[in-house]
């Protein structure tokens, strides 16, 4: 299945694009998404442990299975306020 991931802030800058579309097996989780993303963009690896995954505008754990219709974004450490 195709999953499009939105990237923000330093993650977007490192990849050079606001979105990345990945081809993942059915039932893939956030963890699988990270695995493949870091393989494709090794510069993201240091951010994996400090970033969170948002599915449909809510934080989810890495074990959550993803679906193609989900809106997925990676949320590096926030700094609003």
């Amino acid at each position: 299945m195709k999953i499009t991931v939105q990237l923000y802030a330093m993650l977007r800058d490192l990849v050079g694009s606001e979105t990345v579309t990945l081809d993942l097996p059915e039932g893939a989780t956030g963890s699988d998404l990270w695995d493949q993303l870091c393989q494709q963009y090794p510069s993201l690896a240091p951010y994996r442990s400090i970033s969170r995954i948002a599915r449909n505008h809510q934080f989810v754990t890495e074990t959550e299975p993803l679906a193609p219709e989900d809106e997925i974004a990676l949320i590096p450490p926030v700094s609003g306020g």
Partner: protein, 148 residues
């Protein structure tokens, strides 16, 4: 913008004007209000700052702010909440965020206002890039890969 009779959540590219939000919290049932304002400071990471750039995952940020407001109504006796955050390029001394909480008693307004700003800094998808006086710039919490 998400507006109900109880709360007003807004992310905007326009300059924030505090007076615009005050009529919303006025009610004879409230005896106290607390406002928190965040403004652009001239120093960060030990270096002089000339401006800040804020970016945002807007639909999620507004929903997360709404969840924070709802958590306040569940935890404290608060009457009205305003949370407005500006994004884009901000100059020194310009306000980036206003949080306003009105309540019958002051302890609730203080507690909720503090909770809101701490929650924003933990879990609302807004990111700040510091633009230093020497024109270099860096996302806050950016990992310096050269140092790894």
């Amino acid at each position: 913008m998400i507006r109900t009779p109880q709360y007003w959540i807004e992310i905007t590219r326009n300059a924030l004007v505090l007076e615009n939000y005050l009529p919303f919290i006025q009610d004879p049932g409230f005896g106290a209000f607390v406002i928190f304002g965040g403004t652009v400071r001239n120093f960060a990471e030990g270096k002089p700052v000339q401006a800040l750039f804020y970016e945002c995952y807007e639909p999620m940020a507004e929903k997360e702010l709404e969840r924070i407001a709802q958590e306040c109504f569940a935890q404290w006796e608060v009457g009205r909440i305003v949370i407005v955050h500006r994004i884009g390029l901000l100059q020194l001394t310009e306000p980036s965020v206003y949080i306003i909480v009105a309540s019958a008693h002051r302890a609730d307004a203080f507690a909720a206002a503090r909770f809101i700003i701490e929650s924003i800094k933990q879990r609302v998808p807004i990111w700040k890039k510091e633009i230093f006086a020497d024109n270099s710039s860096q996302w806050k919490h950016e990992i310096d890969l050269g140092k790894q």
